[in-house]
């Protein structure tokens, strides 16, 4: 491999390694390091949600949805041994919630991640610890004394070190403690952390992660006993034994509000939500059943429609809870709501699916209060107020509002002009809406917003970025082209040198030898005097031809030899070329230098020497000069070489092939050749070239433009 190819490969390999290292550093350095204690009062960066309906409020991270396996992931994938602390509170009557550790490959899905999970299970009234790998297996759960209660804060402390995990849950009301420990057979060594809930909404606060060692496990292992492997629930009979005998149905049906104020002993039979629309101002007590589709504002939906609900007390409801509401309807203008006096939780996990409709259908009022999915383009974004972002969205037919809580830091990047699809409860009669719009969509979280397409590229900053990017691309390509040109020139010069040496060693030597033998032959015949004059004349011609051929070969060798690689003074090199061309003839050559000497690029030196050589050849052939002056002037941006003779001058300073080739050579390196001459007054050839070192982009463009002009002229 040649030296230059090796250089190219080396440079490319270094660039590739640097790029890979930069990417790795970029993605890992961006991630946090231990200890890690995010402030839930502030915007969380780098927290990514997978399902659920996540928000931050009052220093807590909240998942308000019953979705199974909703999780949010944070931290650094290279974290290994650490301890995690957090407080959590279950909002629903069922399911479980907790934390996940050493998480890898998370996706949306129930057990769609690889990592450890530790949580509190309402259903089995226990502390559970297990391993998820797109399936779930756990060690035998440990019963929590007194059970796991909705609305009670628990502190979780989990340590994972090596292939073992130990955890403690503390009931923050009564101080009772529960400990468990897991022996991870298929050890997961590193991964991120996160929060996870199943079938229940949950609140978390005071979250922190610190480095840990095996010794941090010891206090927990001392109380939990030997860590157990994850083997449950594998069989149905195991599951049956594990489950705490608790009548889940009776617990779920317990009333969560004050008793009804009416004297009726039993609530009236449930009626459809749609039928409430016919009720005018004063309504009797009504009962409806439906699933919670939005928490703030609270909406409930059944198979016939949805309705806004006002509760007089904190409800502890989650998205997807199926409830029975008893109360009275209130109507303000066309806005109908239900003021609930009694709420019974019937079931959870009844998350209705949204109805995909057009904006006109939504505006018609037929879907008021129900969960819909609608598409539109963002017109404007109002800054977040009281934790909510308001978008004004429009499509061909309608303009409407979208209100969504400011979720965790993974809200899709929104900007005017983007097309979005949003899921939320449709409210046609939104009395809080000061700005007229066809309807309002109350989304439950950032997960309900899907960015279908970003703003068109022809808009705003995007266009500026594209232009800047394009400009940078051109600059990079130009630089690469310059580098390639330099490498090519160097390769050409080296090839010429090789040819020159070859010719010197073969052709020139052969001609010299031929000339020598012919001259010897001629002397011999001359001494003997027996060669006819005609033959002697032919012999003389042969000797002359050999001599001439030798000179021509020498001249061609000189032309090929890249004198530019000689590091000597440029003026001296030009003088040497001139003396070689003179072949011993007498012509005084005066040298004049001025300015501070500076280094010339290879291409410029080569061009300068060739142009000067051509000019000198013209002087020797045509000018009949008796004196020649060579001047070299170093200026600020250019170098000027002048060849001045006192010969006969030229009638026209241009138009012949030699002069055109001089101009072309000069233009190729961004320079110029000027010829001043008049008949009888001598000739001055001025060669002005840039120094060529680190050709600027501007200089490159100028060169290309000059070359294009020259091509056009020719």
């Amino acid at each position: 491999m040649s030296k230059h190819k090796r250089r190219i490969v080396t440079v490319s390999a270094c660039v590739a390694v640097l790029l890979i290292a930069s990417c790795w550093l970029f993605f890992t350095i961006r991630k946090p390091s231990l200890p890690y204690a995010p402030d839930f009062h502030r915007e969380l960066r780098g927290w990514k949600t997978y399902g659920g309906s996540w928000q931050q409020r009052n220093g807590m991270v909240i998942n308000a949805s019953d979705e199974r396996g909703a999780k949010v992931i944070a931290g650094n994938p290279i974290w290994g041994d650490y301890q995690l602390d957090t407080d959590l509170r279950l909002m629903g009557r069922g399911g479980d919630a907790g934390v996940i550790l050493r998480v890898n490959n998370p996706e949306i899905g129930v057990d769609a991640y690889r990592g450890y999970y530790v949580g509190l299970s309402f259903t089995t009234a226990s502390l559970v610890a297990g391993i998820a790998d797109y399936e779930w297996i756990m060690r035998a759960p440990v019963t929590v004394p007194g059970g796991v209660h909705q609305g009670t804060w628990y502190h979780l402390h989990v340590v994972v070190a090596g292939c073992r995990l130990a955890a403690e849950a503390i009931n923050m009301d009564n101080g009772s403690k529960t400990v468990t420990a897991l022996d991870g057979a298929n050890c997961i060594r590193t991964g991120q952390v996160g929060l996870r809930s199943m079938d229940t909404g949950t609140e978390w606060r005071n979250f922190s992660v610190k480095p840990a060692t095996v010794s941090d496990l010891a206090p927990l292992l001392a109380r939990s006993g030997a860590p157990q492997p994850a083997q449950y629930p594998a069989r149905e009979d195991q599951l049956a034994k594990m489950q705490a005998f608790m009548d889940r149905e009776r617990a779920q049906e317990a009333s969560i509000s004050e008793p009804p104020t009416t004297n009726s002993s039993a609530p009236p039979e449930a009626q459809s939500i749609h039928s409430l629309a016919s009720i005018l101002a004063s309504s009797p007590i009504v009962t409806v059943r439906g699933a919670v589709t939005s928490l703030d504002p609270l909406y409930v939906q059944d198979g016939t429609g949805g309705i806004a609900v006002e509760l007089t007390h904190p409800n502890g409801l989650n998205l997807g809870d199926e409830v029975e509401l008893t109360g009275i309807t209130t109507r303000i203008g066309s806005h109908l709501s239900l003021r609930a006096q009694n709420v019974r939780l019937l079931w959870d996990r009844s998350l209705p699916l949204p109805a995909p409709i057009s904006s006109t259908q939504a505006a018609s009022g037929a879907f008021d209060g129900t969960l819909i999915e609608v598409t539109g383009e963002i017109d404007s974004i109002a800054p977040a107020e009281e934790g909510q972002i308001t978008l004004t969205v429009s499509d061909i037919s309608q303009r409407f509002r979208v209100v969504l809580p400011q979720g965790l830091d993974e809200t899709p990047s929104l900007s005017p002009g983007a097309t979005i699809r949003v899921i939320g409860v449709c409210a046609n009669t939104d009395i809080a809406n000061a700005v007229p719009s066809a309807f309002t969509v109350y989304a439950r979280g950032s997960e309900d917003l899907l960015l279908l397409s970003p703003p068109p590229w022809t808009r705003g900053r995007r266009l500026v970025y594209i232009i800047i990017g394009f400009g940078c691309l051109i600059a990079i390509l130009g630089w690469l082209y310059l580098q390639a040109e330099r490498w090519r020139l160097r390769a050409v010069l080296e090839e010429r040198e090789r040819l020159a040496l070859d010719m010197h060693d073969t052709l020139a030597q052969s001609f010299a030898g031929l000339g020598f033998h012919l001259h010897s032959l001629r002397r011999g015949f001359e001494q003997q005097g027996n060669l006819p004059p005609r033959m002697m004349q032919k012999l003389d011609e042969a000797c002359d031809m050999a001599t001439h051929s030798h000179r021509e070969a020498s001249a061609r060798i000189l032309a090929l030899h890249p004198l530019a690689v000689d590091k000597g003074d440029i003026l001296t090199l030009i003088q040497r070329s001139a003396l070689t061309m003179l072949h011993g003839a007498h012509l005084p050559i005066r040298l004049v230098r001025s300015g501070q000497p500076r280094e010339l690029s290879l291409g410029v030196r080569d061009a300068l020497l060739r142009i000067a050589r051509e000019a000198i050849a013209n002087v020797l052939r045509h000018s009949a000069a008796t004196e020649v002056m060579l001047s070299l002037e170093y200026k600020t941006r250019t170098v000027i070489v002048r060849i001045i003779d006192n010969g006969v001058g030229m009638q026209h300073a241009g138009g012949n092939v030699g002069l055109e080739s001089m101009r072309t050579r000069a233009a190729e390196v961004g320079g110029e050749v000027h010829i001043a001459s008049a008949q009888g007054s001598g000739t001055t050839v001025s060669i002005q070239l840039p120094y060529g070192k680190r050709t600027s982009l501007r200089g490159w463009f100028r060169m290309q433009y000059a070359a294009l002009l020259l091509m056009h002229k020719n």
Partner: protein, 308 residues
């Protein structure tokens, strides 16, 4: 390279992608066990993921599209809605990705690359009819509850129950057929009102475990547990718990473990050019309190291969 440091989503390339109707709970965990066993035997890798709620067909479509784009080895799916998933399944077949559909055919004929592993609805009907004959002593009325045309196999199973009841020498008739409802509250209300209309009904046959839970709730609430028996089609963890507690008479359990094994075998056979049946039918089993703890039933209901 960038994904290695920044992205964490698993690659589905050359894996068999399993898209159940629901990703958790006993029935689907048994399916997962069967799939894993056969996958290990055949040396293939699986990717298992599905919705958290049983009618989230969009989630199933998203997973199927990802499988198609990643050129998965095959797809095993139990669609919540065959019609809604038709486009993505056709796209998979177009790319020569073999597909095995579970549970029901529902009008799609088997074609190259597409095969079925089905539950034997006729056998399910026969098992229910025989059970009713036993517990009602050959005479009485029943309610057939939770009829859902959208749920694959639901209508077929109901029809088979009715047909087999006619075939048996009994005088058991279906007093009323109740449609399914996404609202558990309404389901309970429907069942309660139906039992009030038919006070002589001796059993409720629920066509889904969630409907069976509603029926159990109503029967307990009205104090009719000695008079009205509840039979469930398909199992979940809660229903099996009810069975142990005596609140449920019996449950027709699909042999999901065998279905999973067959599905993987079909995919591998299709990929290797080996002949395999276009339609395989697997018989269900009736499970009651008497045989629930039998080892063969426990193996049928196995939820994880890591059993001690």
């Amino acid at each position: 390279m960038l994904c290695a440091v920044g992205c964490q989503q698993q690659s589905l390339h050359r894996r068999i992608v399993i898209i159940p109707r629901l990703a958790i709970d006993a029935r689907w965990l048994s399916l997962h066990v069967g799939l894993q066993e056969e996958a290990e035997r055949k040396g293939v890798r699986l990717y298992w993921n599905g919705p958290g709620i049983s009618d989230d067909v969009q989630r199933q479509i998203d997973l199927a599209e990802r499988a198609v784009e990643s050129r998965a080895m095959g797809i095993v799916a139990e669609p919540s809605s065959y019609l809604a998933m038709n486009s993505v399944l056709q796209a998979a077949l177009h790319r020569k990705i073999p597909i095995v559909l579970l549970k029901e055919k529902l009008g799609f004929e088997a074609e190259p690359g597409l095969s079925y592993v089905l539950n034997d609805d006729s056998e399910a009907g026969r098992l229910v009819a025989e059970r009713l004959q036993k517990i009602l002593h050959g005479r009485g009325k029943i309610l057939l509850s939770g009829l859902c045309s959208e749920v694959p196999g639901n209508i077929e199973t109901a029809e088979q129950i009715v047909q087999h009841l006619r075939l048996l020498p009994n005088k058991i008739e279906v007093a009323e057929t109740l449609p399914c409802n996404v609202s558990v509250g309404y389901s309970r209300q429907q069942i309660k009102e139906a039992l009030q209309r038919h006070p002589d009904a001796g059993a409720v046959v629920s066509l889904s475990p969630i409907n069976a839970a509603s029926a159990i709730n109503v029967v307990l609430k009205i104090g009719a547990e000695s008079r009205v028996k509840v039979i469930s089609i398909d199992q979940n963890s809660g229903i099996l718990h009810n069975l142990r507690d005596g609140q449920l008479d019996s449950v027709v359990v699909e042999n999901m473990r065998s279905m999973g094994k067959q599905a993987v075998d079909d995919i591998v056979a299709e990929r290797s050019g080996r002949p395999h049946p276009a339609v395989s039918v697997v018989k269900p089993v009736l499970v009651d309190r008497d045989n629930l703890d039998n080892e063969d039933i426990q193996q049928l209901l196995l939820m994880h291969r890591g059993a001690p």
